[in-house]
Structure formats: C-alpha cells, structure tokens
Symmetry: C5
Subunit: 355 residues, 5 copies
C-alpha cells in the first residue's frame, strides 16, 4: 500500500455508459493460469489463451481455479467476461481499481472483492483481488503478476485435503491466505510503532513526527480496507447462499475471526499512535521548560550581579565607597550572597530536581 | 460550493402558508429543454414554452426528459407544477434551495433531491438538482444554466443502449453522472491536502493555517451533502417502489457503491486534516524550542562573561588584581574556560544535535 | 435563550405528590385567548375568563384554538385542566418548565411540548409552548405574553386555506412556525461565528475567546432543544395516532425536514466553533513564535557585542591593545562583523521570512 | 458521592460460592422499619426484630413497606432473605455494594437497584438502595441510617392519595424521590461550574485546575450512575411485568422523563467542563504571550542602548569622540532615537493594543 | 498481561492448512489433571497420561473436569482432540494464542475462549483459557502451569453445593472466578492512577508521563479483553443452547453483571487517564508561566538599571553630571524609583498573586 493509495483511483470519465472499463495500458497484460483438479486428477497450465482455457474448464466433478494476473488489455477481459458470463457491472469493478472490499451476489455466481497486501522488496504493496465463485469454477483477477497464494497452490499440488473439497473451499483457501497476510503488514507497522514509542520520548524531533504522521496515514488507509473486508466476510458467514456449503461456512467463520483480530490490533495501534502524539507534545513542553529553566537561572543570577558591577563602574567624581579600602572584597561578598540567595530560591522552587 | 454555502438559505418568512415559493428574481429565468426518445425516434427541443412542452410530452412508449434550468420565475414553476401534477410541498422544495439531499415518494411520482457539484472557471460550484421520476416522464430542475449532464445527452443522441431503456434508467444515468462528479471535487481537495501536508511541516505559517481551516470547512460541508445523498440512494436500492424496475435497481446499487467510495475518501481526508492540525501545532512547538535554544545558548554563555568584565571595570581604588601583570590574559583565559564549560554542558544535554 | 437557560429549572421539592405544580407567582397571570372558526365562520376573543371560554369552545364542526399565555396562577391552570380534561402529569409538564421537547399520547389527546425561540429587543428569548391536540380543540400554553404565531393568526383571519382544515392542521401551522423561527436564531449565531472567524485570526484576544466560549455554550443548549424536537416531530410522522390525519402527516413530514436542516446547520456551526478553538490556539502559538523571534534576534546580536565592549572597559593596568592606535576602529569593525554573522545566521534559518 | 466512590468496591474473594455476602462489620447494624397501610388503616413501627416483622406484614389488601437501613450484619440479612424468599444472587447484590443500577425480574418479585445521592453536612453522599417489589410487599435496603424518603413517609402518614394505591405506587414514590434528588446534586455541580467559568478566565491557576479536574471526575462518576438508572427505569416502562400495573407505568414514564432531563443537564455540564479546559489552556497561552511581550519590549529597547553605553565605556587610548564637546548629549540623543524607533516598531506590530 | 501482549501473536504461516497448530516447544509440556465427582463420590488425579484419562472420564452421572496446563506438545493436543472429538478449528484456537475472547457452538460441545489475568510475583500475567463444555465433560486448556482456580477446586473437594450440580455449573464456577480476578488487576491500575493523579500535579515530569502512557496502554489492552469477554458471556446468557441449563443461565447472568461492572471501572479509568494528560499539559503550561514570570520580573527591573549605570560609566570628557557632588546618590535614588515603578506595575498586573 503506497502512501497515496486511496488518492489515486482509476475510473472512467463521469457520465460514461455503465460497464465502461478504465484500462491502463501500461499495466501488465492479462496472464491466464489454470489449476483444475479432482481428488485423483491434477492439471496445471500457465499462460493459456482464452480458447485453450475453454477446453480445460467447466468439467463436471472438477474444481477449476482460473487465475488472471494483470488487467492491461480490455479485449481479453471482455472475452473472459463472455466465457464466464460475468455481469458488466462486476467486470467494471474488476477493472476500475481500487474498489472498497465487498461481496455481491449475481444470478450465476458470487462476486467477492478484496485487497491483497504484501511486503515485496521491503515496501508494502497493495492490489485488488476479484474473486468469482460459482458451482463450476473459481475465477480470480489480480492487478499484477505475483501474489501470496503459492502456499495454496502447493497444497493443491501435494494432493492435500483441499483436493477432496469443492470450489467453495478453494475460494476459502484463497481468502484465508489473503487475510492472514494482513498480519505481516500489521507486524511491520507494530515494529515502527514500538521504535517510535521509544524514540519520541528520548529524542523527539521533526523527522520522528513525520514518521508518526505517515504511520497514522497508513493505519487510516488500512482501516479503510480491513473494516469492509470484515463486513464482506461476515456477510458470507451469515447469509445463506447457493455457492458456499454449510460445511465451508464454518471455515469462513474462522477467517471472519482472523479479520476481527486484525482489526483489533489495528485499533490498538491507532489508539497508541494518537497517544504518542500527545506524548510528543508533552515531551516538547517538557524540553521547553528545561530550556527556559536554564536560561532563567543563569539570567536571574547574573543580571543583578552585573548591575552591581555596573554601578561601581560609574565615573562620578564623588563616590565615597570607591575609596574605602575593603570595599572591593565587601562588594564581591555581597555578590556571592545575592547569587546564593537566588540559588536557594530556585532550590526551594524545586527547579534543580531531576524529573 | 462557495464557502458560505450552507449559511445562506432561501426560505419564505416563518409562518407562511406551506407551499410558498421563495423566488429570487435575480436568478436565471427558467429555460425548458426536452429530450424525448424511443429506440427508433429521437426529438430534442430547447427553450420551449410550457404550451409547446405539453404537445411533446406524455407520449406513451417514449421516454421524456424535461430539463428546467433556472428558478427565477414563480409563474413558470407553478405552471410546470400543474402540468406534471406536482405536490405543492415538492414544488416548495424545488424552489427553496438548498434542501438536504433526500428521496420522497408522492402519489404519482418519486421525488429525488440532490446537489450537483462541479468545477467551473477554477471555482467549486454547487447547485440543487431536483428530479421527478414517473412512468411517463423524468423532470429535472436546476438552479442555473449549464450542468455536468452533457455526456448523458450525448449518449441519448448517439442512440446508445440508453435508448432501449425506460424513464428509470434515464434517471439513473443522471444520478450516476452527478455522483461521479463528486470525485473531481474530492480530487481537487485531495491535491490541496497533499500540498498542505508538505508545506505545513517545512514552512508553517498563518496563511497555511487559514487554508487548512478553509479545507476543513469545505470537507465539513461536503460531508453534509454526501451522507444524505448516500442515504437517499440507498433508500432507492432497498425500497421497492413503482417507478424503478428491479433491473434498474441493480444499476442504482452501483451508484450507491460509488457514493460509499466518495464518502470513504472524504472521511480519510477529514481524518488527515485533523492530524495535520496536530502536526502543525507540534511543528510550531518544535520551532519555538529551536528559537529558545538559540537564545538560551547565547545568553547563558555571554551573560556570565559580561559579568566578569563588569567586575574588572569597577573603579574601586584598591583592586589588587588590576595591577598584576598577567591578570588580563589570565582573566581572558578564565572567560574562555567558562564559555567552553557552558558549551560542553549544552553538548551533553544534546542541544546541538540536529533533530 | 438566556445563557443559564438549562441551569435554572422550576420544579417542586423532591418527594412531592406527582402532579404538583411549581408556580412562580411573579410570572404573568394566564391570559386566555380563543380563535374559533369553520370555513365560513370566524370568532376571535381575547382575555376570556374560563366560564366564557366554555361557552365558545367544543362546538362540533369548528376548529377551536385556545391559547393561554402566562403560567402565573395555579388556580386558573387547574380549572383549564378540568375543562379540557388534562392528565395531572401533563399539566405538571406545562407548569414546571423547562421540559425536554417531547410528544406524549394520552387517552383523550396528544400532548406536544416544544420550545419557542425568538429574538426580542436584540436578545434571544426562549419559552416553552405546550400543545394539546384533540378532535375538538387545540390548546396551547405559553410562558409569557407575546409570541411568533401572529402569521398563523393572520392566515386564519384572512380566511386562507387553513380555514378549510381541521384541528390537526392548526397544530401543524403552529409547530411549523415555531420550527421555522429556529432559523432566525441560527442565523444570528452564524453571523457571530463568521465575525469571530475573521477576528480570531487577525486580532486574537481574551474577549474573543470568551465570546467563542459563550457561542459554544449557546450552541450546546440549542442542540439540547433541537434534537429532541426533531425526535418528537419524527414520532408524529411515523406513528399512527388518532389525532393527526394521514393528509396532515405529510405536512408534518415537511416540518420534520426543516428540523433536520436546522440540526444540520447547528452541527456545522458546532464543528466550526471547535475548529476555531484550534485555530485560535495555533494563532497564539504563531504570535508567541513571532515575539520570541524578535527577542532572540535582538538579544543574540547585542549580548556578544556588549561583552566585547565590556572587555575593553576593564581597568587592568596592563592591557596592551588599549594603547594601539587603530585598536578602537578595529574593535568596532569586529563588532560589525559579529552582528553581520548573526544576521546571516538568522537569515539562513529563515527567521526573516514573512509567513 | 465521595471522590473515590467507584474505586472502592466490596466484594467477596474471587472464586467464592455464589451468593456469598461480603459484610463490613463496621457498617451500621440493620434497623428494620415497617409502614403498613390501607386507605383506612395506618401502622408505622420502627426498629422491629424479624419475628415482629413477620407478624405485621403480608396482610392481604394492605401495602407493606419494609425499610431496612444498614447492612452490617449477615445473619439479619439472611433471615430477611428467608422471610421474603429472596434469590441468593439478589441478596448478594444487596450486600456487595456498589452495584451498577439495574432492574432484574425474579420468580416472585421485581428487583430494582438504584443509588441514592444526597447532600448531608455540605458533602455529597451516595449509598445503594435495593428495592424489591412484589404483590404483597415493598422491601428496601439502604446502606446507612437516614435517607431522602421522609416526604414519602409524610404523604403516607397524612393519608394522601398514596394510601389508595398499591405496592407498585409506593415503589414509584420511592424511585421518584430518589431520582428527583439527583437534581440537587446537579445543582451543586452546576454552581461549581459557573464559579469556575468566571474564575478560570480572570484568575487561572493550579487550584482552579484541580477543582475543574475533580468536577470532571464527579461528573464522570455521576454519569455512570445516571445512565444505567435511566435504562433500568426505561425497562420498567417498556416491559410488561406482573408487579407494575399499567396505570402506575404511566407514572414511571414520568420518572423516566425526569431521569432523561437529569442526563441532559449532566451532558451539558460535561461538555462545558471540557470546553473550560480548552478555555483554560488558551488563557494560559494568552498570559504567556502577555508576559513575553513585556520581557521582549524591555529587553529589545535597553539591550542596544546598553551596548552603546558600553562602547563609550571602553578604555582605548585613542577614541577621538570622547574628546568632542557635544558628544555626550549627541549620544544621549541617539539613544532616545533608538528607543523611539523600537517603540514605534512595537506599536506598528500592535503589541500595545489591549486585547 | 505484559506490555507487548497483543503485539506478539503465535500463528502458523499464512496459507497453511486450516487446523495447523502453531506450537512453541519452549512452552510447558501439557499436564493433564482430572477432577471427577458426583454428589457422593470424588476423584482427583494429577499428571495423567491420555490413556489413564480415558479410563476415568465419560462416566455417566458424573461431572468430569479435565484441566490441561501447558501447550508445548502438538502430539498430546492432537490425542486430546481425538479423545474429546474436538473440531480442528477449535483445537487451532486453543493452540494459536492469543485469541479474542469468544464463544462458539460446535456440534458436540460449546467452546468458550477467555483470558485469565492474575498478579504473580508483582507482575500482571495473562494467559488464554479455552473451555469446552459438553454434557459429559468440562475440558479446559491453559497456557502455563498454575492458575487462579484453586478456590473452585477447594469447593469441589469440600463437597460444597457445587457437587450437586452439573458440568455447566462447573464451567460457570471457572468463568466466574476468572472474571472476578479482573478486579484485582483493575485495582492495581486504579492505585497507579490515584498515585499518578497526585504526583502529576505536584511533580510533573518525564517519568510520570511515561508511566501515564504505559497505564493508558495497559488499559487499552485490557479493554480489548474485557469487551469481547462481556459479549461472549452475554451470548451465553441470551442464547438458548443445549449445554447450559436455564437454572445455570441465571448464574451466568450474574457473571455478565460482574463483567459489566469491570468494564464500567475500566471506562472510568480510561476517561480519567485522558483527563490526566490534559491536566499534565496544563500543569506544564502553568510551570512555564511561573518560570517566565521570574525571568521577566528580574530582567525588566535590572536591564534598565544596568543601562543607567552604563551611561555613567562612559568616558566622555565632558559629562557635567559626573562632577556634581550629589549626583551619585541622586542616580541611586532614580534607580530605586525605576525599580519600584516596575514592581508596582507587576503588582498591578497580578504577577505576585499566588495561584
């Protein structure tokens, strides 16, 4: 999730025909991958063209996961829309990213729109994953090549329990993996927060403040992803629908719990960042007090002393004290007395106490 | 939306008969335009008078969109109210702008009240659009000439899919275009926010603060438009009513999603502007610390030194040090030592560290 | 609404018998006015005594609006309670002002409790209006003589549409006029807000702050009136009840909309006053920075220079520089150099930039 | 309500058998009073022992109000629990104070738990009143001797309307009196608030701040009492239950209204105290600005002048100005010019304006 | 609850097969304890192996509480899962701590997930307790050896009332004891709060601030435990389910009340800590004002005096005052006058008043 994530939204010009796809041609060209399996059979094909795809999908008794990576070509998207009979408004949501995470039921399938967040090359990356679930296929669209779903693919390849389940379970496995990845991002943010916590008190400063602000910004955006994600999954759990069996709904309840926990962490972080801002302001106030105390102590001690010295630096012809033999040491003594008095006054006020 | 948008409201004096229209005669005179079409026929007429209008509307099997721009003449509004059989309270809502966006069902039609926001000549402009939807017509009232609906008109002229649909779909196209235009305004505000974000830290100052305050003001007003708009459209989606077909309701669900996304952006902006205020205050606090540090360092170094110089500027007759040969360089040395001690003290406190 | 409005509440001592009236005898003596009309007849009588009142009311087919102004006599209130058969708890609510605005249904009538706010002699005045609606009468109680309802009376006198409607419509006209008057108060507050907005930035100061605080106080009290008013009217709109016809309910929906818009304005004002407080604090922070900058610049330039002057004012016997011919101009030159260095330092830090 | 009210809670050690009573033996010994009456008969007995009590209660056709003051003896409480057949968990709630105000329905009675707040000897005192309402008795438990219910007892003694009503009405009279007493406490707090309002601006200081904090603390605790009280009473109004007749429910609705008004006042006070804190901070900021202005004006005027004086106090052998005849008055003139310039500069900046 | 409690969460890598247990082998090895009893019989066995366990459990007519302490061995957990027929997702929740407190119904049992908080060795410790309730057993899993449940065990050993009740009552006793222990932690926090309250005003400083921040952090985490705990128990109270009898549900209502009271205290503490932060900031502001006042008073008195002294220290050849006999005492007198004037000015401004 780069920092301006939600500021930049691809959408067709206002007033366009509904279903208009807003394609950015610099985005990757759609690559179509297929994994099709039953308990005994397993087929995996990469970079299919649409015609090949039709040949291998829709086999009864088999789970077909069609994974499209890249949204850079309108024609391919339209063809896929025709093959899988997708509603134009759903296809619009696939192409015009980012959408708010949501679930929508269409006549022939369930449409689930999520955001996949992962850490690639040290940076947080975010892309939309659109999932269509029907009786005969699971169809996913991703914005870019590469994703976090390899563990799911490996479980399919290994012939694990997942091979005995239906399309809905495959969808569950995908959603579960996407949600679990939110934790890794939250962990990165939690670490930033912890280090800020320590540094803001010891060495408050401008850059820390900017970091804190950026962290709040990221948490605010993440909140805007996590909350609707939770609601969408909650809808899957609660609502009866034709595409998710009761048995699998139990697993979705588990994902729902995970999303709740992620939100819980997020909320804690958000609360703590707000507190940190307060802490920072108080810290600055403390520093200012410290600085002012130093200035005030030095000034109030030496300004009166300098005045005394100034008086005896005057050039009046008749200043009888000047001729007195012990005047100089006496005046020095008076100065020491004034300084001591001042120091005692500050001591009484507790200005030397170390807080 | 000019800054005092919601402060200024046109309404008849309290206690007036309900249905009283509060007409501002300096507003543009109502201009009546008509677009009437079926799949095969298309008729467009501008600046009709009411009699001509009656001739061309209410043809069965045809969609008639009557668009009235300008609210500056009570008589014309009353005549139109009679022609289309509008409830007096609805007509009052048309004339006494601004109303809070809302939807109301009357016996013979659905009344939808929205605000159209657009950017004209660099400024944000806002006007009320009142939409009446019935089986036989779509009637819109706008406050001023000119609007954002030309893409819709062009789709009608081109003979696009819209020509095959009913009055409800035309209403949808209008509402959709109005809502999509909210994004353009949000984008302008997002840009202001981004530039403020950068500048408030680097060059905090009075004007930036006023800009931030004005931005918050605009966002607060926009919120007061977007939230009820979302509620009104949500009501259209949820409630069964006689004027919107189930098929078209699906499209309104799409508009509802868009309004949700606009609100989502708005909320993020509002949150960030609040954070910016905090950031600004912290920045100011930082600057103050910097300024005070400079003052304190200079003062605490030189005030004691000046005192020493003052002491040896006294004119006492018996000050034995004054006669000592190396006294002057020794005193200079002592001064250097004091200054160094102070500098070391500040260094130890970390006051020279660059934050 | 005087400033301590909600602090001062008239209520009988705790533990009194329910229905106890808490009468303040310095309040005006109840004045009973009657307007009774049908479409063709019209009767208006002022300052009736209860016996006369009975003679003229309860005529079938006629609307009777009995308006009682002043609550200063318990006996009169009790007699009226008997005549109109009011529940003791309702009569208690009439006398023990102020009540929170509310609607309550009794066996023989509907009881509506509102606050009338108006501007009289430049000050905001607030009093309770208690309205009883039954099939055969509309009965209103006001705290003081004089009100905002003259436009309603005039419509009745003129024989307008209102003469064709029932008691419920008369009640609507009264409620509508009361709610519309909230706008005039809001407008006054909006003007205060606007002027504070401008002044708090240009000339922040103590009195402005107190004004802002008082404005917030007034808005907080107004909120406590407007929200329950809205709820009460909303209850009239939603709930079926025997005293308001379906046709009139539509008009109440209009009043409900108006109350919503008043709340909307109020909320905006409240939000803006909060922002203003922040703005004020930031402004003060800005001023402080300005003041400190001036002090710091002057001090850091002249304190070192004074030190140099002090050194050469010392009276040591052996200070070789003092005898050098060009020493004086050289020292002056050094001083200029120090001052220039300081100025350059401040310039580099941007302290002379005008923010 | 003493300040640590909710911090100190008496409860048995964790893991105890449910129904364990946590008795503080220093609390007053339970004193059992009985008032029993019908419309014609009246019996009042104080300090009964349980055996005597049984003799006088449970008479059909009579209202019996058993009032137990003091919770300092477990045995007595247990015996009373047996006599009136109280559920062990209810008895636990009676003894283990404070409970959150609530209403609970048991098989044979209704259990209502409230807090009585009163002002005794100038301090706010708070104790729990547990009320059991059944068909044949009203049983109340109070923490300490003395209460606010004497007006109710007097009404019973006087043979007022209350003598014609049932147990439920007696319960109502008790609850009504307790709720009405909240106002007296709110009034005391309102007065504190008003005086703080005036003083915080004129003479802001540490003690005022502590007072404000304590007031907020008290309001926060009061909120924790009033809100659940309102909910509990609301439950009595809404829910049909066997122990409160429909006729009496109308009276409870009145109490509910009173509790709403108390909450309304409380909320206003809470809002205003928050504003006061802001006002205080702004006031401090104002003072600081004032102080700094004085310092800056004096310093920036005299520091440069002192520098000039310092220059001509130097002892260089060759300072030609020193010998010039009019040099001294000229230098004095320059000093006046510098000071005037500074003053003009401050005047231009508006530092002398009185805010 | 150590401070980073919710930051550290054990969970299997994203994309794992559901039901994967994330075991930390450094955690204690599971120790299986059994208490089995009927009204007449009582059996207690410690550190059983699974085979022994099977022998002693599932006896009809007996309550069997199987308590597993330590989660450090996957095989044992799996075996236990098989013995008691636990759903894989439930077992996953047992092992992958911490979970958010919740209740879930499975086909053969009720699963309740809570957090046990206790004070051990002066530190707050937190661990997850997973409770399975069925007709024939109560099964609990704890993270570590040692718990707060000994009072429950003792009641069983003593043959108290608990021996007459079923499995659901045993579960109640466990939950009740866990919830009651929250108070002890709240009490510790309340004490910290009270001491901070006193110290933050008298001796505000950096460490206090950090303490306050840490307290807020702890309260924020505790809130995240208490709220879902309340919801989970509330679910037990409201929902009919096969494992908790109506009679026992009444006891759970009591626990629910306790959890409400704990939340109530928590909320009060949270509110007060926020106020304390404000108080702290105000205190700092006060201190700053004090410091600045001292500096300003000293500076503004002596800086003008020093200037006067400086003037008469100048070495002009012609300064006629210098030769005047009484000039010196006159100048001293002027100085006293200036100082007195300044002091009077500060007195008038109220700077010497003690706030």
């Amino acid at each position: 999730m780069n920092e301006r994530g939600l500021f930049r939204k691809r959408r067709p010009p206002a007033g366009s025909v509904p279903g208009t796809l807003s394609i950015d041609k610099t985005e990757p060209f759609p690559k179509i991958n297929l994994i099709s399996f039953s308990e005994t059979e397993f087929l995996e094909r990469e970079a299919l063209n649409p015609e090949e795809l039709v040949k291998h999908t829709f086999e009864p008794g088999k789970v077909s996961w069609v994974d499209v990576q890249g949204l850079g070509d309108e024609k391919t998207l339209r063809i896929l829309g025709d093959i899988f009979n997708l509603h134009p408004l759903a296809l619009e949501d696939v192409a015009n990213v980012p959408q708010i995470p949501k679930v929508e039921e269409y006549d022939n399938c369930l449409f689930l729109c999520l955001r996949m967040i992962r850490i690639a090359d040290g940076a947080i990356m975010s892309e939309q994953v659109s999932i269509f679930i029907s009786d005969s296929f699971v169809l996913t669209f991703q914005e870019r090549y590469g994703d976090v779903l390899d563990p799911v693919r490996n479980r399919m390849r290994r012939g694990a329990a997942i091979r005995k389940m239906g399309n809905d379970y495959t969808a569950y496995a995908i959603v579960d993996t996407i949600v679990d990845n939110y934790y890794s991002v939250l962990e990165v943010m939690g670490n930033s927060l912890e280090s800020l916590e320590d540094e803001l008190i010891v060495r408050p400063g401008k850059e820390k403040l900017k970091e804190l602000y950026d962290l709040k910004h990221q948490l605010a955006e993440l909140k805007r992803i996590l909350w609707p994600t939770r609601d969408a999954i909650g809808q899957l759990v609660r609502n009866e629908n034709a595409y998710i069996e009761r048995k699998t709904a139990l697993y979705f309840r588990d994902v729902f719990d995970h999303s709740m926990q992620a939100i819980d962490m997020l909320d804690l972080y958000r609360e703590l960042t707000s507190e940190l801002m307060n802490l920072y302001l108080s810290s600055m106030s403390n520093r200012m007090n410290d600085i002012m105390k130093v200035l005030t102590i030095i000034s109030t001690i030496f300004i009166p002393l300098s005045f005394v010295a100034g008086v005896y630096g005057m050039n009046f012809a008749y200043m009888p004290e000047l001729e007195v033999k012990w005047a100089y040491p006496i005046v020095l003594g008076i100065m020491v007395a004034i300084a001591s008095g001042m120091l005692y006054f500050f001591h009484r006020r507790g200005w030397f106490r170390k807080y």
